[in-house]
């Protein structure tokens, strides 16, 4: 250390600067005000202007919505009395319509049951600390939509023989795959050659049957082409034999394969059965549905369909197979590139063109298909973000363990990827929930559609009808969307662990 040189320059201090006074309010409410409201004279003025503005807006809402509002009344007279306040009497009179649309009054308990079951399953799903998440998710994604479908429409569908045969065929094909599923393809070819060869023969004959003219044969109640009958017999034999050999082999692999097959088969036939059983519920056509109920049906269908479809599309877009990747990219980009309203127009004018003559779709169902496909494209992009965020080592480790593609995805990659993108998924849900209002443009009475329709009622025509109706609808949508966004923030904070540096 050397001595400091003596300064003789004018700009270098030779004595200490005078002490500054101790800072005043730095803590407590006064300190907060000092920092956040009046740090400078300019901010002080801004604060006052801001406060005045907020007070003006708040007073306007309170005066319109409470002080000058008409709360009770039988018809428009109540609202003509004070034309400067909200007409809550109108919302009160139309409340049931806003909630249920034109659903028959005596059947509204069915909608209420749907709400209660949905809430009872959803709340434990959303609270992270509660157990049985997987069972709950299965219930919400598979059983609950079935319950909703039966309760809201009344069930008692006539399932045609063709549909039944189609499902039975799928279950049969799944049975043929049992030996492969239980011991792998190589061992299956080695050990259980007979059922596989039967199935292969059936497949070849099935393809052939498309090209040769059919020869009809009568079997008791109906006539069928002979070749198709042979195909059926071959497949049935293959399925039965597969079940028999797999069941007789024993061992954990075979047992779990058989168990899953039985569960799937029972579930498939139980679904068909439940849909065709007459529970004594009166049929309610979908054009009688309306209000918040339709909004929720459209939104929840979109959510339930878009999640699995979005996962598939996202995996397809990241696949190594060029054709799979190309098809996924085309699908995703087309849906994401066009506005939802054109998708809805397409589903209402083009879908009927695509179907064979005589096959018609319910209007609501057509809109649901449009919304679901549209939402899956957006969901796919969100999930792709999650897949890309998983370190490559995870994929490699899964391969190194010898896991197949689907196992490594289901057991290693997707659980992590989906966890990362939960906020993104919830944001997509919020967007989807807001977008459901668009179905009102193609003539479906969702909450917004029914509010709009109620303005035509001459009993309640007043200057304040439209503002009050829209305010109510906005409030309902806001509550749902705001709750979802808060939940997404909550989950984001909770999941802010692990990979984040």
């Amino acid at each position: 250390m050397v001595d400091m040189p003596r300064h003789d320059r004018g700009w270098v201090r030779t004595s200490d600067a005078p002490d500054k006074p101790a800072p005043g309010n730095v803590a407590g409410p006064m300190g907060w005000i000092s920092d956040n409201l009046v740090p400078t004279w300019w901010h002080g003025l801004l604060s006052i202007a801001g406060f005045l503005f907020l007070a003006w807006v708040a007073w306007g809402v309170i005066e319109w919505g409470i002080l000058k509002a008409a709360w009770t009344g039988e018809d428009r007279e109540a609202c003509m009395a004070s034309v400067e306040g909200a007409c809550w009497a109108y919302v009160g009179a139309k409340f049931h319509q806003f909630m249920y649309g034109f659903y028959p009054f005596s059947q509204r308990w069915r909608v209420d049951i749907v709400y209660v079951i949905g809430l009872a399953a959803l709340v434990p799903m959303l609270i992270p600390s509660l157990p049985y998440k997987r069972e709950n998710a299965l219930f919400l994604l598979i059983v609950y939509p079935l319950i909703v479908l039966i309760l809201l429409t009344g069930g008692d569908f006539d399932i045609s023989l063709a549909v039944f045969m189609f499902v039975a065929t799928l279950v049969g094909i799944a049975a043929v795959a049992l030996p492969i599923a239980s011991q792998g393809i190589e061992a299956a070819v080695r050990n259980d050659r007979l059922p596989l060869m039967l199935a292969a023969g059936g497949l070849v004959l099935w393809v052939v049957s498309w090209f040769v003219p059919p020869m009809w044969i009568s079997i008791g109640f109906t006539t069928v082409p002979v070749l198709r009958l042979v195909v059926f017999v071959l497949f049935a034999a293959a399925a039965a034999l597969s079940i028999a050999v797999t069941a007789s082999r024993g061992g954990p692999g075979s047992r779990s394969a058989i168990a899953s097959w039985v569960i799937v088969a029972v579930a498939a036939f139980a679904t068909l059965g439940l849909l065709s059983v007459d529970f004594g519920l009166s049929t309610v056509r979908t054009d009688q549905w309306g209000g918040l109920m339709v909004t929720l049906v459209v939104a929840i269908t979109g959510i339930v369909v878009s999640l699995p479809l979005g996962i598939l599309l996202a995996l397809g877009r990241r696949s190594d197979m060029p054709i799979v990747r190309l098809l996924s990219v085309i699908f995703i980009e087309i849906w994401r590139g066009v506005p939802l309203i054109t998708v809805l127009f397409m589903s209402s004018v083009m879908l009927p063109l695509f179907l064979p003559e005589g096959v018609t779709f319910d209007k609501l169902l057509r809109a649901l298909i449009g919304v679901a496909l549209f939402a899956s494209a957006y969901m796919a992009e969100v999930i792709r973000g999650g897949l890309q965020a998983i370190p490559k080592g995870q994929y490699e480790a899964a391969s190194a363990l010898g896991l197949s593609y689907w196992r490594s995805m289901l057991l290693i990659v997707l659980p992590q990827a989906l966890k990362i993108v939960i906020p993104g998924i919830v944001n997509t849900f919020i967007g989807l929930f807001k977008d459901t209002t668009l179905v009102s443009i193609i003539g479906i009475f969702d909450l917004l559609g029914i509010v709009n329709a109620s303005f035509a009622d001459p009993n309640w025509a007043s200057p304040q009808t439209a503002p009050t109706g829209y305010f109510f609808a906005a409030l309902v949508f806001w509550i749902f969307c705001f709750a979802m966004s808060r939940y997404s923030i909550f989950m984001e904070d909770r999941l802010h662990t692990g990979h984040k540096r």
């Binding site: 920092d35 604060s47 006052i48 801001g50 197979m321 054709i323 590139g337 506005p339 829209y470 906005a474």
Partner: protein, 463 residues
């Protein structure tokens, strides 16, 4: 490679059955998928052809030359009922472009304002921004369009009762009010300087200043010296639209355009020269102000020299409606307001996130180098924030454009609404949907191409 190893390798290859070979498997899977897609397409096309034949609709674009026979409420190019379907779709396309471009401009301005307000250290200001964002973002856009259209713009008085808006214009009282305002500001600033540590005194000072202004305002008005007067400006708010005076460009007004172009080039040259001089000598030149002056001043000067060849056509009430002037129809206004207010909420969040993502160390480093707050923002924070802001901003612009298709709900004839009318009249569903998809898809592909270009240009150059 020895012979033994080669034999071993061949054996290994043979040991893998063909159905376990990943290449074979992926080929089979892809072939099956392609076959399934082709089969679906085949069936769909077959059904469509049959359905079209049954309903006697000739596919193809021949219909666009047929006379449309319907009118459109808002057109930018000449259009009448005798125009063709193709013209109607063109009108719709231009209307989409109009509402999208004006909406994008307004949403960007408002969004940046709200986003910066949200970052303000002033609690009231940031709270206002937060409330705005949380409300606007969580209410469906379609509902907001309806609110503006049915609940705000349609209940406006009819043309006969529509009030004429006035332009505030300083009056004689202003001569007294300005000195009083200056005294207030002086006392306020002195007070803040003198009382750096007393929160209470600052609050009282601020309140006192506002009270002082209000009292003086009413005092002057009470004495008969009004501070501002409202001069009628030929602008009306009616349920037929917002009527504004329309400038009429007469012969000779083209000089303004030339002058504007010359000013642009001049401003660019000045900027180049100023930057070069600062590089060489360190001396700065106020090139931004100069450029602005050029761009605004030169066209005005040219117009003055040409004898001001711009007339104004005032809207006039004649019978039951207005004649003359420019009319912003309520359909356009509602769509424009709803789109820009809604999108601004998302832009504000993007701006906030972008600015917050610039590490605080950058700001501190700039302060340490002696930069002031404004320069720090302009030269250090904003350029880095823009890198993060622009890609999501572009996708918001695209969203706004796509959302403008909600125009169909309130009858603003955009591409979807005009196309929908044509579709209903002709039944040419496939052709119309193809037009829609071509336009929107090319817009979105252009946007993503731009974003890819921007991202590669703006990527951080790292070691």
């Amino acid at each position: 490679m020895t012979a033994a190893a080669e034999r071993q390798a061949r054996q290994d290859r043979q040991r893998v059955a063909f159905f376990n070979d990943p290449r074979v498997r992926s080929a089979v899977v892809q072939a099956a998928l392609l076959a399934a897609v082709a089969w679906c397409a085949w069936i769909i096309i077959g059904n469509t052809i049959q359905n079209l034949q049954r309903s006697n609709i000739a596919s193809g674009f021949d219909f666009i030359d047929t006379t449309a026979g319907f009118s459109l409420s808002f057109t930018l190019i000449p259009y009448s009922e005798t125009s063709s379907y193709g013209r109607a779709i063109m009108v719709g396309f231009l209307n989409t472009l109009l509402v999208a471009s004006t909406g994008i401009f307004a949403a960007t301005m408002l969004g940046f304002l709200i986003g910066i307000m949200r970052l303000s250290r002033n609690w009231v200001i940031s709270t206002i921004a937060t409330i705005y964002i949380e409300f606007v973002r969580n209410i469906p856009l379609l509902l907001q369009i309806f609110i503006w259209y049915t609940a705000v713009l349609k209940p406006l008085p009819g043309p006969r009762e529509a009030p004429e808006l006035g332009l505030p214009y300083p009056s004689w009282g202003m001569a007294l009010f300005l000195p009083l305002l200056a005294i207030g500001v002086y006392v306020l600033i002195r007070g803040y300087r003198m009382l750096p540590n007393s929160t209470g005194a600052r609050v009282v000072l601020s309140l006192g200043f506002v009270l002082w202004l209000v009292m003086m305002w009413f005092l002057l008005n009470g004495l008969g010296l009004s501070v501002v007067e409202f001069v009628p400006m030929g602008m009306y708010l009616s349920n037929r639209g917002i009527l504004i005076p329309e400038p009429i460009f007469e012969a000779g007004s083209q000089v303004a355009l030339f002058a504007f172009l010359i000013a642009l080039v001049g401003a660019w040259l000045v900027r180049r020269w100023a930057i070069k001089r600062q590089f060489d000598t360190g001396q700065q030149f106020p090139h931004v102000l100069t450029g602005l002056g050029l761009i605004v001043g030169l066209p005005l000067l040219a117009l003055l020299l040409a004898g001001w060849p711009i007339g104004v056509e005032m809207p006039e009430l004649r019978g039951f409606n207005f004649v003359g002037g420019a009319n912003l129809v309520p359909e356009f206004t509602a769509l424009f307001l709803a789109l820009s207010i809604y999108t601004a909420a998302f832009i504000a969040e993007i701006v906030r996130a972008g600015i917050q993502a610039v590490s605080h160390g950058q700001t501190e480093a700039a302060y340490a180098l002696g930069f002031r707050r404004g320069l720090t923002l302009r030269l250090v924070v904003i350029p880095q924030a823009l890198r993060i802001i622009i890609p999501p901003l572009a996708s918001q612009f695209l969203n706004l454009t796509k959302n403008s298709s909600l125009a169909v709900a309130i009858g603003y004839p955009d591409l979807v609404a005009a196309g929908g009318t044509v579709l209903n009249q002709t039944g040419q569903a496939i052709e119309i949907v193809m037009i829609w998809m071509t336009v929107y898809l090319s817009l979105s592909l252009l946007t993503s191409a731009f974003m890819n270009w921007y991202n590669s240009r703006m990527r951080l150059v790292e070691r």
